[in-house]
């Protein structure tokens, strides 16, 4: 009994710094946002009298879900994820496998090159891509034009994929690193055994390495899904050159617009909470669906 008590205190002391910061920077703001989302401010008539604020239960949530703009933004994020999860899993897996099969100095060179875009802040990366997308300025658009290919990366039918491209560029290297770390953790004797059994390098990659790093791939998928739902900086920056990106293009942009442009922080809070719940449900659903959850191990 005494021993357990002491262990408890020691454990608490170790956890305390995390718990305090977690509560102050995460739980409290989330609680504040939830509280905010349950109130609304209303005027009447022409708006000449001061408005009143009252408790409104879930009226803001109903408003958000009934707003076609917000619903569209959710649909758009699902569309982004459809393009984005395969790209952000297949590409990193391929890069990691290639890297793992490379020997010598080239290996660290390519590892750095692949990872480099992640070191560039999203806003800066988006600005660079904005330059590459803008007709009349971009050397890429000009070169394609000379070759007889006339593309507009920024109109309403293409801009979604232009965003997916920027985000893929940013995060492929990061995802690759997670998978690569898992590859390095595979015991050498397993690979050796496969080789002794006569497996080709391709067979080793497909039948030995890939199944062994599956938990890492699931983890990367979950992170990517959560990140995709929260996509924000890229459309915000590209919006200056592409009006096709509307003020509520993604759910986060929509909440930002409600809060910063429309001064409706209550609705913005409701939209943010909804987004968090959806991302939560989706990521756990994804882990469940893949059965062998990364965290289960």
């Amino acid at each position: 009994m005494r021993r357990r008590g002491r262990t408890g205190w020691v454990g608490a002391a170790f956890v305390a710094p995390f718990a305090v910061l977690f509560a102050a920077t995460y739980l409290v703001p989330v609680g504040y946002a939830i509280q905010f989302s349950l109130f609304r401010t209303r005027s009447s008539g022409l708006g000449l009298a001061p408005p009143t604020t009252h408790f409104a239960w879930f009226a803001n949530y109903v408003d958000a879900l009934q707003d076609p703009g917000y619903r569209d933004s959710l649909g758009r994020v699902v569309l982004i994820l459809l393009g984005f999860i395969p790209a952000l899993i297949a590409l990193p897996v391929l890069m990691a496998l290639l890297l793992d099969a490379t020997r010598g100095r080239l290996r660290s060179f390519f590892r750095t090159v692949y990872f480099l875009p992640y070191g560039v802040p999203g806003v800066i990366g988006s600005l660079v891509w904005a330059y590459l997308y803008t007709p009349g300025i971009s050397p890429v658009v000009a070169a394609l034009g000379h070759a007889g290919v006339h593309v507009n990366f920024l109109d309403s039918s293409t801009v979604l994929w232009s965003i997916v491209n920027v985000v893929t560029w940013e995060f492929a290297g990061y995802n690759m690193l997670i998978i690569y770390a898992a590859l390095l953790a595979i015991p050498a004797d397993v690979i050796e055994a496969a080789r002794v059994d006569g497996a080709s390098e391709r067979q080793i990659a497909m039948r030995v390495k890939l199944p062994l790093v599956r938990p890492a791939i699931v983890l990367v998928g979950v992170f990517t899904a959560i990140g995709g739902f929260q996509i924000f900086a890229e459309p915000l920056v590209l919006r200056t050159i592409a009006p096709a990106i509307t003020a509520n293009y993604t759910p986060n942009l929509s909440a930002y617009t409600e809060a910063f442009a429309n001064n409706n922080t209550n609705l913005a809070a409701a939209e943010a909470v909804l987004l968090a719940v959806l991302a939560f449900v989706l990521s756990f659903g994804l882990m469940r669906a893949t059965r062998q959850g990364a965290f289960a191990r």
Partner: protein
């Protein structure tokens, strides 16, 4: 994608400082001219003298270029009032900060609020009633329509600062090159010129039609000039309509140029837009006086090639203009020193030396009258071929309709219209349909704030 970047604003990408100034006034041009002609040496205290006794410190928030110099000049010129300048990010984020500061009971004394945003502040009861401080004695020193922008139910809540009546900027050299004898006097001539320019050079366009938020606000000036009135009140209810015959005529006019691909669609103030100005792909811009500073600083190589003419007319002999961008100075609810804030606001908007500073950097056309002492407004400009373009803008400013008012959801209307204009550019809808949809959305947005609103 990452939350830490949430605060990032797109404006940071502007390459030239001038860009910032654009934005500063962008939607709300703040220029100023010498305002105080009428009060002359009297300093404006002749009628109700209450504000004149003010003293102490004033916290002033503005993102307009030139403000540090203006504030320094004021602080040097007298010792009773000391102004401290705070610079919030331009536009919407500044307003969010102001709304939050009012709620927290710690607002600046004086705030830079664009005409379009005033009704939203008023609707949330976040402005001090300046009539109670004797501000109405200043009214005769300001242009009537700008004064009315800050007037609600007969009470004054803001001192007008600067505005942006449209004139027509045009490239004299290019018109000549494309065989056009002079600037178009009517919109019919303007359309004919647009056709000529584009058929002579497939890369060149008479002007632009875009779909961004800035352009949505800019474009509204066209129906406004033609005489449309989108917003009204009937009893205790807002009435919103954007399908009146006048607006439809303007919409059809632009639709034709869009369909014929005679206008370029580079987003307003984007790098591509400035590039089109620099390389002569945009030949003319119906734009406010404050745009002159932007053009000058972003296309220095075009010195001597731009000129300014009156805005084209719909019917010959019926000259009218409209406004794009305009700012005011408002005292926020809970301000600690409203009386001194009002004195400074009056000085900033009417003192010739102050106006000279802020007009030169493109803050907008002064809302004050009697600008003869403001040298920046009366001298010829070598960039514009040695002409005094401000003489044109002075006339244009007098021709702006006085009764245009904004709603408490004006900013939302801009972004809604921007979304619909985007569908116009991608041929999913027509401009007329886009406007009808925007009017409907605006009614819902007003109702969502608890206000009564209906279509007109």
């Amino acid at each position: 994608m990452r939350n830490r970047e949430i605060g990032a604003r797109m404006w940071t990408r502007s390459r030239a400082g001038s860009w910032r100034s654009l934005l500063a006034l962008g939607v709300v041009p703040l220029v100023l001219l010498s305002a105080c002609g009428s009060s002359g040496g009297g300093g404006g205290g002749s009628s109700s003298a209450a504000p004149a006794k003010a003293h102490g410190s004033v916290v002033f928030w503005s993102w307009a270029p030139g403000m540090p110099q203006v504030v320094a000049l004021f602080n040097k010129s007298q010792s009773a009032i000391h102004v401290k300048l705070g610079v919030p990010p331009a536009g919407d984020p500044a307003y969010l900060k102001m709304h939050a500061a009012v709620k927290a009971g710690n607002p600046p004394d004086l705030a830079h609020v664009e005409f379009t945003a005033l009704p939203a502040f008023q609707q949330q009861a976040e402005l001090e009633n300046l009539s109670k401080l004797g501000a109405d004695s200043y009214q005769r020193q300001y242009i009537d329509w700008t004064w009315k922008q800050g007037n609600f139910a007969g009470q004054t809540y803001a001192i007008p600062w600067a505005s942006g009546a449209l004139g027509l900027y045009y490239r004299a050299d290019l018109l000549h090159k494309y065989g056009i004898s002079g600037p178009p006097k009517t919109w019919a001539e303007f359309a004919a010129d647009a056709k000529k320019v584009h058929s002579a050079n497939p890369n060149a366009y008479m002007t632009f039609f875009s779909a961004d938020n800035f352009y949505a606000q800019w474009w509204m000036a066209y129906p406004w000039q033609a005489g449309a009135r989108w917003y009204g009140t009937s009893g205790n209810s807002w009435t919103i309509g954007m399908s009146d015959p006048t607006t439809s005529q303007v919409a059809d006019y632009w639709q034709k140029m869009i369909d014929a691909k005679q206008v370029t669609s580079a987003p307003t103030y984007s790098t591509g837009w400035f590039k089109a100005i620099q390389n002569g792909n945009i030949v003319a811009l119906p734009a406010p006086q404050w745009m002159s500073a932007l053009i000058k600083s972003n296309a220095p190589a075009l010195k001597g090639k731009w000129r300014v003419a009156p805005l084209p007319e719909w019917k010959p002999g019926t000259q009218a203009s409209a406004n794009y961008g305009g700012s005011s100075l408002a005292v926020l609810k809970g301000a600690k020193n409203p009386a001194a804030a009002l004195v400074f606001a009056h000085w900033l908007t009417t003192d010739p030396a102050a106006i000279n500073i802020w007009v030169s950097v493109g803050d907008g056309w002064p809302a004050a009258t009697g600008l003869s002492k403001v040298s920046a407004l009366t001298s010829p400009d070598p960039y514009y071929g040695g002409e005094n373009i401000n003489a044109v803008f002075k006339n244009m400013d007098a021709l702006v309709d006085k009764n245009w008012k904004w709603t408490p959801v004006a900013d939302q209307t801009f972004s809604t219209l921007s979304g619909h204009l985007n569908d116009v550019l991608s041929r999913k809808t027509t401009l007329k349909q886009a406007l009808a949809a925007t009017a409907g959305d605006t009614v819902s947005q007003l109702k969502a704030k608890g206000l009564s609103a209906k279509s007109s």
